[in-house]
């Protein structure tokens, strides 16, 4: 009998710990969800229980968000910036990752660590000089400034990941293609790239989400509402002085977070093996 009791205690404390951690991690998202659909009267009622609806849910906040703010514009800005950055990143990181993966000896590894280290140079150190560079390029207060700057962190990161993925493709496959009459570039495009599609897809997702998440450069370079990406627009334009449009704010945060969160979860396993597996081995 004491054995059974011990098991029950062990089980319940295990689940207790899981539930506590899940609540700590996810409660803010529940809070976004419930705030989005609550009427203002319900939100600002000190007497009622805040965890649930005390008045019927409303679509008022979402309606305001889509009709009376630039939310849709910010979303499409973010999508456009993300797509352009992903394109630039692939164009540069695909050949670089391949070149590094196939470099003989330790030189490829050393060079790749060198490139990867630039990922550690933080925006905080670079936003002042980059603001100057952006002005020189005539891109101040334009979302194109972000398209130019964001590859500085996506390229090192993606080159590193891609190098790991390319290394796992056996060399013999390209060599066979070359013997069959392909050029080296042809062999890369026809054999290595198709075999690396899952890896490339992972890199695309991560470059895109990194770009959508960025905040510091956007905050530094952009002040016109119509040029803002969604993270900046929501965080700055839906707060007017002391007035926070909480229903709209939380709705916007929720809508922009959900796709990113789903993409992350789908590719998480591959991402873990990419960052801890291939590259330095």
């Amino acid at each position: 009998m004491p054995r059974l009791a011990g098991k029950v205690v062990g089980q319940s404390s295990f689940y207790g710990a899981v539930v506590t951690l899940v609540v700590f991690a996810a409660f803010p998202f529940y809070w976004m969800l419930i705030t989005t659909f609550k009427t203002d009267g319900d939100l600002y009622n000190l007497k009622s229980i805040p965890y649930w609806f005390n008045a019927p849910p409303t679509l008022e906040h979402l309606k305001y968000l889509f009709e009376d703010t630039l939310f849709v514009q910010w979303l499409s800005n973010s999508a456009l910036i993300g797509l352009c950055v992903v394109a630039i990143t692939l164009l540069v990181a695909l050949p670089a990752g391949y070149g590094l993966a196939r470099m003989p000896g330790r030189s490829g590894e050393n060079l790749s660590i060198g490139i990867f280290l630039t990922y550690l140079v933080p925006p905080t150190l670079l936003f002042l000089p980059l603001a100057r560079v952006v002005t020189l390029l005539g891109l101040q207060d334009s979302m194109w400034a972000l398209v130019v700057v964001y590859p500085t962190f996506t390229i090192p990161f993606c080159t590193w990941l891609l190098m790991g993925f390319f290394k796992s493709v056996p060399r013999e496959i390209e060599e066979a293609a070359i013997i069959d009459g392909c050029t080296v570039v042809g062999a890369f495009v026809k054999t290595v790239l198709p075999l690396s599609v899952p890896g490339i897809l992972t890199v695309v997702i991560f470059a895109f989400t990194l770009t959508v998440q960025e905040f510091v450069y956007a905050l530094t370079f952009i002040s016109s509402s119509s040029e803002k990406p969604v993270t900046l627009g929501v965080a700055t334009d839906l707060i007017r002085g002391d007035i926070f449009y909480w229903g709209e704010l939380m709705g916007a945060a929720l809508i922009s977070s959900v796709p990113v969160a789903i993409a992350y979860n789908l590719f998480l396993d591959r991402f873990i093996s990419g960052i801890t597996g291939g590259a330095v081995k």
Binding site: V18, L21, V22, A25, A26, P28, W31, T35, L46, P50, Y51, L91, A93, P95, A96, Y98, G99, L100, R102, L111, T118, L120, V121, P122, P123, T124, L125, L126, F127, L128, P129, L130, R132, P151, T152, I155, E175, I178, T183, V184, V185, Q213, F215, V216, L219, T220, V230, T231, V234, W246, L249, M250, A252, A253, S257, V260, A261, L268, I272, T276
Partner: protein, 311 residues
């Protein structure tokens, strides 16, 4: 490369279609150059520019490149706000790392067990790391609201606080630091969970089985076998987390903007205020560059653990 040469040698007739671009010695560097150029032009040169800003008198109102030596650094160190900021940054970074690491390890140990709903639990735990930080932080601003705070409501309902003295989470000097560090740890610990999970799964099962047969219990296995094996990975994660926290400004900017009375001011937010909002680029750069020696140490540590890793 030699394999290609050997394979190509007997087939003399095929030689003609190979050009210089088909030699890996030529092509390899050609493939890598664009990446290096991008990094040099948009990371390397701006970094040098930052160095020069910090020893000049440059401001957006008076763009003078006059060399002033270490004057900016002296003025920055002499400022009381800066010294407070430096201390805040250390407290913020260290406490967020400790909470993040502990929760990361606990979370990974829980998620290693098989239980119904494990995938859902993992997805929910990873959420704070997956979503854009600025948007996730806004939810915390609302949860900490001075009047309608759900945290205060819960504490009141549980009888833990006195209705006359509701804590102003973002408005009191002592509480504001706790609030920003908690939110940052909240954002970071899922990354720790993921890294610990990756580490745990890479520990060979036969090593664990052998230890169990030899009589090693749960704690011994944990601290004398698993931890030493996964130490390099944890080190890399820790360096990343520390650099990320030390240099980040988004959580603090969105929660408190460095207030009240600079009690949560960190290097990032101070540099932003001085360099961008006030336009005093030279002093802003000097503040940013205080990060640099620290980053250098982080890079050296990182290189060492990269070399040492075996899993």
């Amino acid at each position: 490369m030699s394999a290609i040469a050997e394979a190509g040698a007997p087939r003399r007739t095929a030689r003609s279609r190979f050009t210089a671009f088909d030699r890996l010695e030529v092509l390899g560097p050609l493939f890598i150059i664009p990446a290096i150029l991008y990094v040099v032009v948009l990371v390397g040169l701006p970094f040098l520019l930052a160095l020069y800003y910090s020893v000049s008198a440059y401001s957006i109102f008076n763009p003078s490149w006059t060399f002033v030596g270490l004057k900016n650094f002296r003025e920055v160190i002499d400022s009381e706000i800066f010294r407070r900021t430096l201390a805040n940054t250390l407290i913020f970074t260290i406490s967020a790392q400790i909470i993040g690491l502990l929760l990361g390890k606990i979370g990974a140990m829980l998620l290693m067990q098989e239980f119904p709903g494990r995938r859902l639990a993992r997805a929910l735990i990873v959420l704070p790391w997956a979503v854009p930080v600025s948007l996730a932080t806004l939810a915390w601003v609302w949860m900490f609201d001075s009047l309608y705070s759900v945290i205060n409501w819960t504490l009141l309902a549980a009888g833990l606080i006195d209705p006359a003295h509701r804590p102003q989470w973002l408005g009191q000097e002592d509480l504001a630091m706790i609030a920003v560090a908690t939110v940052h740890a909240w954002r970071l610990f899922p990354f720790g969970v993921v890294i610990f999970l990756a580490g745990f799964t890479s520990v060979p099962q036969d090593v664990l089985d052998a230890a169990t047969i030899d009589g090693a219990g749960f704690w011994r296995r944990n601290y004398q076998i698993i931890l030493p094996i996964i130490a390099p990975i944890i080190m890399i994660a820790l360096i990343f987390g520390t650099v990320f926290t030390f240099t980040d400004l988004s959580v603090v900017y969105l929660l408190t903007k460095g207030g009240p009375i600079n009690s949560t001011q960190v290097l990032g937010t101070l540099a932003f205020q001085v360099g961008i909002l006030s336009g005093d680029v030279a002093h802003g750069a000097a503040i940013c560059l205080f990060l640099f020696p620290f980053l250098l140490v982080a890079v050296i540590l990182l290189l060492r653990s990269l070399r040492r890793r075996e899993i």
